[in-house]
Amino acid sequence: MTDKIKIENVNLYYGEFQALKNINMNVKENEITAFIGPSGCGKSTLLKSLNRMNDLIEGVKITGRILLDDADIYGDMDATVLRRRVGMVFQKPNPFPMSIYENVAYGPKTHGVKSKAKLDEIVEKSLRSAAMWDEVKDRLKKNALSISGGQQQRLCIARAFSVNPEVILLDEPTSALDPISTMKIEDLLTEIKKDYTIVIVTHNMQQATRISDKTAFFLHGEAIEFDETEKLFSMPKNKKTEDYITGRFG
């Protein structure tokens, strides 16, 4: 499989504080890559650099290169184009305060789709991909804030699908959800990885072992170890990784 994203010598600073230290890794197409590590280790920061959501924070400086299909995303690429290709699902479900339909149609409308029929089609397809079409097809006009947290999060995933991204970044997408909703989302991710490249940040090591192909362990802004998930969890090469996954800290 080809490398979808290449991260080369990336350092990131919040003002004086260095949040990422010389990160090098490649994310393969059609795989799920998990980032694990204790809070503040830089895993979310790295995730957010992949679609330049860090640009929104004042005082962020980044060096090194991140390549998406061999194009430097911090080079000529327009941030809006990048974010269309690299979608994101956030830690807390954040549907817009509008109807379920409008939430999914927002992305394509933003990118210029006007025809009602086309929008209908995109909304249905996106909701189907997020395995929630049957649940909500009769109440598309209902306010998205009125559905459950788990449904809201799947709606956000559907919303991410709506602009036809190539990569989907998920920042602890299940940390605010109950076990059943979590399971649904995990099943969904394994189901869709054939069409997308997925990077997920998770606090939950079981989740990483359940769904990811590769896992990266972060500590204090460094990528300590990056390997096949199975290998990383069964025979970690680094002592720190071992300490973390066996629950000695974190």
Binding site: T110, H111, V163
Partner: protein, 286 residues
């Protein structure tokens, strides 16, 4: 044991005292409001008749018709000028300006100062600048310009609060889909902030309707026989009509001042009610 019981009793007495004090204050506030409303409405409403509402003005009828129209003109035109300026200014402050930048400091200083200036000072400024220097004469136009400046701080500060209270997660969600900043502002932030912006507009309308000092100097106290949409003519709003009638000394002018007051109150009620309903509906759609 005994002491604990005593203590409990004391606390109960205290809480009863406090509760009654809270109730007393509540009743007092509502009571004063109701008293004022009844005082004006009971005197005013019986004097309202068709001629007063829609008739021609003369010293007999003292009709408020042209003043009603002037008031509505004043509200609409002032809002048309100051709402866009105020809302865009708020968007700049809340969404684009760097925190602590000089531009923000200057704008904030300006709005805070404008908000604290007594309205009669606006009146004097309007008279010198709009009436004399720009040559708008004592007219609705001069009044509108003056009032627009006066209500700008209200609109800016309430809109800024409303825009700031929109959760960042909405912005992230929109930007994360590849929307531009400006698209996010117009499609997500503004609609979400609309109820807050409207509440600022209600406040502003209240100020326009109630304003006298600033308007006497700018739009003048002239009363038209019949309503006129001539922006360059001097016209009095309802508040000024009421003020003038109260001081007129004609046999029935006091009564008619109350009638005008009653109309003013009814207009404010209607405006508040519809705006709140509107805000509620926008909120529900979201």
């Amino acid at each position: 044991m005994d002491r604990r019981l005593n203590n409990l009793k004391q606390r109960k007495v205290k809480s009863i005292l406090l509760k009654s004090f809270v109730w007393l204050c509540g009743i007092l506030t509502v009571g004063v409001l109701i008293y004022i409303l009844l005082f004006i409405l009971l005197r005013g409403i019986p004097k309202i008749n068709l001629v007063f509402l829609f008739g021609e003005y003369n010293s007999e009828t003292l009709s408020a018709f042209s003043s009603i129209v002037a008031t509505i003109q004043m509200i609409f035109l002032s809002l048309i000028i100051s709402v866009p300026i105020g809302v865009f200014c708020a968007i700049y402050l809340a969404e684009y300006a760097k925190r602590g930048s000089i531009a923000v400091k200057i704008i904030r200083l300006a709005t805070d100062t404008l908000a604290g200036i007594p309205s009669i000072v606006y009146g004097l400024f309007g008279m010198i600048f709009f009436v004399n220097i720009l040559g708008f004469r004592a007219s609705v136009l001069s009044g509108v310009c003056t009032i627009s400046i006066m209500i700008l701080p209200v609109i800016i500060s309430s809109s800024e609060e409303a825009v700031k209270s929109v959760p960042d997660t909405y912005r992230e969600g929109s930007l994360g889909l590849g929307a531009t900043r400006i698209h996010t502002v117009f499609r997500i932030v503004l609609p979400t902030a609309m109820p807050g912006i409207l509440s600022g507009v209600i406040l502003a309308i209240g100020r326009i309707v109630g304003e006298t000092a600033a308007l006497i100097f700018t739009s003048g106290t002239n009363v038209m026989k019949n309503p006129s949409l001539d922006l360059l003519s001097s016209q009095r709003t309802l508040a000024i009509h009421m003020y003038m009638l109260a001081g007129e000394g004609l046999p029935h002018s006091k009564d008619m001042a109350f009638a005008t007051g009653a109309i003013l109150i009814l207009i404010v009620f209607t405006v508040n009610y519809t705006t709140t309903k509107l805000a509620g509906r926008i909120g529900r759609i979201q």
